[in-house]
């Protein structure tokens, strides 16, 4: 999971590297001892420079609390009911949902305690249309600024780290055209489609070319610069999408995928349904959640503890279900970071959110609580651990509504609301 956003897909072609420093060419071996001392000095300077350069890289001082709109807004009152475009439901954020009168009446005393597995009542893909006929060709702007002409969508390969694009293509009703997939796009409808990612979340270019796709949809969560160059020089149309995984970006990504595949009407319909599902899910969030502080953790072994923070998408989800993201609260400024045991104790989360496979690989709850620092928090004392299928957690695709509903059920014991499927 912590491989997200590897290449930033800069617009244009930067061609990095090639800045060899042409210095220290003519220093003869004048006085070895002085050279040695100078080298030692230079080593120290390089070291200091490294430390200085490294420390601000992961973290800037927590003075900028991540300019996220509505992050610090009071949950219930004073959420401005902003006028939105007619047709779009004005309840796709928790604030808006509550302002519109949403929220269930649940006594916080009845919230579940202890370990909970988030489940999905309905895990199926519900295509918005039945094999719609695309209008082609279309020319779309890829996320890196290129104009890409798509003439044929009979053989689609949608791949990214989270399965978002695959989920979107299937939800648009074009699932039968998908010839290759990533691992998270593993729902029953796609299970027979060959996987084009090898070990370690890398794209296997030869596997992709072997499937003879007519269009490739992907984004920066899985691309490397090499693969990008290979794909583009193959002549197959490659369309990139925004790699950020946030609640806000869902609608635009669905629209962009639908447009690139020549089915914009179905895209609009899917956006509308996705929004309605998110609204329905958010309306089930209790009016009084007590703002539980939730730490989204990725733990491997006792020495690797990754805590997710602002921009990871986890912060968004936690905020929308009425909680407080622990990573953001202790001043992390990047998506995830290897944290110390004491940082987790300081964060004092009320609950841990983990991926089901991660919990299993740790050896279960007891093994997780044996890791220094995890048991020494309110969440650890209450053994409050919510685990969820990792392929559903950070997808931010058309099924986000059911992800939120499942989280709401797991955190507050509210029966998952019925989501509109048409």
């Amino acid at each position: 999971m912590p491989h997200a956003a590897r290449s930033a897909l800069p617009p244009g072609t930067p061609a990095p590297g090639s800045t060899s420093s042409p210095r220290a060419t003519g220093t003869g071996p004048a006085r070895p001892r002085r050279v040695g001392t100078a080298l030692a000095g230079a080593g120290a300077v390089v070291l200091l420079g490294l430390v200085a350069a490294c420390s601000p890289l992961p973290y800037e001082p927590p003075a900028t609390p991540a300019a996220q709109p509505g992050q610090d807004a009071e949950p219930v009152d004073e959420a401005p009911a902003e006028p939105t475009a007619p047709g779009a439901p004005a309840c796709t954020t928790l604030e808006a949902s509550r302002a519109a009168g949403g929220g269930s009446d649940v006594d916080p005393a009845t919230f579940p305690t202890g370990p909970t597995t988030a489940t999905f009542a309905d895990d199926a893909i519900h295509p918005i249309a039945d094999a719609p006929t695309p209008r082609l060709p279309v020319t779309v702007e890829s996320a890196d600024g290129r104009q890409v002409e798509v003439t044929d969508v009979s053989r689609i390969i949608p791949v990214d780290l989270y399965g978002t694009l695959g989920e979107t293509v299937y939800s648009l009703g074009l699932g039968d055209n998908v010839v290759g997939r990533d691992l998270p796009t593993g729902f029953p409808e796609a299970a027979d489609v060959p996987v084009v990612t090898g070990a370690g979340h890398a794209l296997d270019v030869e596997a992709i070319l072997g499937l003879d796709p007519s269009v490739i949809l992907t984004d920066a969560t899985i691309l490397t610069d090499d693969v990008r160059g290979q794909l583009e020089s193959s002549g197959i149309p490659v369309v990139y999408f925004d790699g950020a995984r946030t609640l806000e970006g869902i609608d635009d990504r669905i629209r962009a995928v639908a447009t690139a595949l020549g089915v914009p009407e179905q895209g609009e319909a899917l956006v509308e349904r996705t929004d309605r599902q998110i609204c329905a899910a958010l309306s089930a969030v209790p009016k009084e959640t007590g703002r539980p502080r939730v730490a989204f953790l990725y733990v491997r072994g006792s020495a690797i503890k990754m805590l997710f923070g602002p921009g990871s998408g986890a912060d968004d989800l936690i905020h929308e279900i009425g909680g407080e993201d622990a990573g953001t609260a202790i001043g992390l400024t990047q998506e995830y970071a290897p944290v110390t045991s004491e940082a987790i104790i300081t964060a004092a989360p009320d609950a841990y959110l983990v991926m089901t496979t991660g919990l299993e690989s740790m050896g279960g709850l007891d093994a997780m609580m044996a890791i220094p620092g995890l048991a020494q928090t309110p969440a650890g004392a209450a053994r409050r651990v919510v685990d969820m299928d990792g392929s559903r957690l950070l997808t931010f695709g058309p099924r986000t509504g059911s992800t939120i509903a499942s989280l709401v059920e797991a955190f507050y014991g509210v029966p998952a609301p019925e989501l509109p499927v048409s």
């Binding site: 020495a303 503890k305 300081t346």
Partner: protein, 384 residues
């Protein structure tokens, strides 16, 4: 190594060669050195030991007081006193302060001391038995060998394998690798620097291949443990890991203290040592087992932490000469100080974040290694 042997034994600041300047109970050599130098070094050794002891005590207290969970120095002392049964001083005011100290911070501090001492001691011993100043667990591949053993167990038995198994496998891997390196790098009773370093390259390359293979076949959980092994970290320190590592390291350090006199004799050359009544072969085998013990203690729960075993003994020699009588205890103290300081940096340099400890020691140790090369080159024409 051949060069320093021929240089006058008492050459001042001959820091890079593990040759004893003057074992005082040997008349002929100390006569050449002169009493002044010998006394000066002995005084320096005493001051160094005392200084390192004080530094270790201070650093231990500072480490105990530093961390993300705010605990004041008085509260740390109060908590310690309460655990010793004294109702004295304030308890930590942070709700998890007591836990932060006793579950997270203190085991980590203790483990840093034990591992640092074990690594530096193994470096000093290894340099003595190889008769070679560049011998170091990380450089000649013994750490990698131990890592291969540990990772083999992690891969075959799964990521949830008990820590004792991993430690045992690390010991076996370290032992086998030490013997292999020793056998391969030795020719005609000598270990040339170039041969040793090249052997280290070969062993490290092979171990790297094995680790890559294990990384390839491992499931994701085991894979991340393998990666962690190569980074080195004290982040997972618990009392349980301390309870396993501490006895191993204690045996190793005690053994090293017992053989240090004979190590000095060995440094005179094999034949001389033989004539002085040392069973050279048995001593060598004993020291290699000690080295493997110490290295396995140094890596079992913390992964590969390079260069501590190289830097610390060299620094000690620069101050008080190469006699093992002072080198071993001073290295033990020095290693504990260095690793405690490095870990303090690793967990506090960037707020909330755990920096890889092996990264820090390598960033410091690599340039130091380079400095040693240059220094020896300028003084003795280099290591042939």
């Amino acid at each position: 190594m051949s060069a320093p042997v021929t240089s006058p034994a008492g050459a001042p600041q001959d820091g890079s060669a593990p040759v004893p300047d003057a074992a005082p109970d040997e008349g002929d050599r100390s006569a050449r050195v002169g009493p002044a130098v010998g006394r000066g070094r002995r005084r320096a050794a005493r001051w160094l030991t005392v200084g390192l002891g004080v530094a270790l005590a201070v650093l231990t207290v500072v480490s105990g007081m530093t961390g993300q969970v705010p605990v004041s120095p008085a509260e740390v002392l109060g908590s310690l006193a309460h655990h010793l049964g004294l109702d004295w001083g304030p308890m930590p005011s942070h709700p998890q302060g007591e836990n932060a100290l006793w579950v997270v911070r203190f085991p980590r501090v203790v483990l840093a001391i034990v591992v640092g001492a074990a690594l530096a001691c193994s470096g000093a011993l290894m340099q003595g038995v190889f008769g070679n100043p560049l011998a170091e667990p990380g450089v000649i591949g013994v750490s990698s060998g131990a890592a291969v053993g540990a990772c083999a167990v992690i891969v075959t038995a799964g990521a949830l394998v008990p820590g004792t198994w991993v430690a045992a496998a690390a010991f076996l891997g370290g032992l086998v690798t030490t013997f292999v390196v020793y056998a391969l790098a030795r020719a005609g009773g000598r270990t040339e620097v170039v041969t040793l370093v090249l052997t280290g390259i070969a062993v490290n390359a092979f171990a790297g291949g094995m680790l890559a293979f294990f990384t390839f076949v491992a499931d994701p959980a085991a894979r991340e443990q393998i990666v962690f092994w190569q980074l080195g970290s004290l982040g997972g320190a618990t009392w349980k890991s301390v309870s396993i590592v501490l006895p191993i390291a204690a045996v190793g350090v005690t053994g090293a203290m017992l053989v240090r006199r004979r190590m000095d004799l060995l440094a005179l050359g094999e034949r001389a040592a033989q004539h002085l009544g040392v069973d050279v072969e048995r001593l060598r085998q004993l020291v290699i087992v000690l080295v493997a013990l110490l290295v396995s203690a140094g890596v079992a729960f913390t992964g590969i932490i390079a260069f501590v075993g190289l830097v610390v003994p060299h620094l000690v020699r620069m101050v008080c000469g190469p006699s093992h009588r002072t080198l071993i205890p001073a290295s033990v103290l020095g290693g504990a100080v260095v690793l405690l300081a490095a870990d303090l940096l690793a967990r506090n340099a960037v707020a909330n974040v755990e920096l890889p400890l092996g990264m820090i020691t390598s960033l410091v140790g690599g340039p130091f290694f380079f400095y040693l090369l240059r220094r020896t080159r300028s003084r003795q024409g280099g290591w042939a």
